[in-house]
Subunit: 183 residues, 2 copies
């Protein structure tokens, strides 16, 4: 890969170290020799799961998203614990958020969500052979989610209406429409 545009760090200023994200400002040397500042958010990374039930329903979660001050419907997702394998996170988050277990968790793709200012990466999995757990696991104590099971047509209608409105879910719906529910 081309490295001619590399921006070497001249100095770093730590602004904030938080529960989920950190913020720092790097002063960088640009390819032309000038300097600039980069505002950089560190995030542990996340998984998201396209989970399909036996009767071809998509398993979704409804959740209030404080940054947007609104409720969205998204595919189940969760942050990586430190050092955790993404597949392990995906199995855990699926169980915690939806009460489903699976023995079929397959990586579809991974992508950086906001490469201009953050290092967050999302690993997108597909889960099949879902089994409802008798006793659902406890999720994070400050997360309140409501489970929805909907058809791909209902999901695309919700995207049209703006209730589904995030990159990982839009990607998953496009994938599902063309690879899982192909006519």
């Amino acid at each position: 890969m081309n490295n001619e545009f590399e921006e070497k760090t001249v100095s770093t200023e730590e602004i904030y170290k938080g529960k989920i994200i950190d913020l720092r400002i790097d002063t960088v040397r640009l390819p032309d020799g000038n300097q600039s500042k980069r505002e950089l958010v560190s995030h542990p990374g996340a998984v998201a799961i396209l989970a399909v039930t036996e009767d071809d329903k998509l398993v979704m979660v409804e959740q209030y998203r404080k940054p947007l001050e609104k409720t969205l419907i998204e595919i189940p997702a969760g942050k990586l614990e430190k050092g955790e394998n993404p597949e392990t996170t995906a199995i855990r988050e699926l169980e915690e958020e939806t009460g489903y277990s699976t023995d079929s968790m397959e990586l579809i793709n991974s992508f950086y969500t906001s490469p201009g200012f953050a290092d967050e990466i999302v690993y997108l999995y597909k889960a099949g052979s879902l089994k409802k757990l008798e006793n659902s696991l406890e999720g994070d104590e400050d997360e309140f989610v409501s489970l929805k099971e909907i058809t791909i047509e209902e999901a695309l209608e919700m995207e049209h209406s703006g209730y589904i409105h995030d990159a990982k879910t839009s990607y998953a719906l496009l994938y599902a429409k063309h690879f899982l529910f192909k006519d």
Copy 2:
């Protein structure tokens, strides 16, 4: 839409006001009456452009991404100026980053990139009828990008190799493959 999970702001602490992003910590009242903290990044929003040349090449830009400490190949994109209409931004960014003008700019979709911690929204456009400008416009002085024109097959191969690795571009490629270059 369901508002039962709404998190009312109890207090706000401004942490950082930057060139591109701001960071604040909101203390919120959860649906169960308890309080929690939310780390919230504000971003002006962005556009991204799926631009296809007359000979069916995708117009891409190679750019160093400091948060990732690596070079990625992405569809052209750029931040919204304050109060700017996204379509205007898309036309401007396409001209600045690629030297192409268009009279066909169509919104494909929009999505929040990281709804857990940021309010960034990306408006994804499709641009056709590309015309090369004789005198290319000046872009941001601290942005260094290199233009690439590649086939959809080359793009999918680059995604497989990890040179293409961001959500808006992966979404655009999946869209292009199934709606623009359908067999």
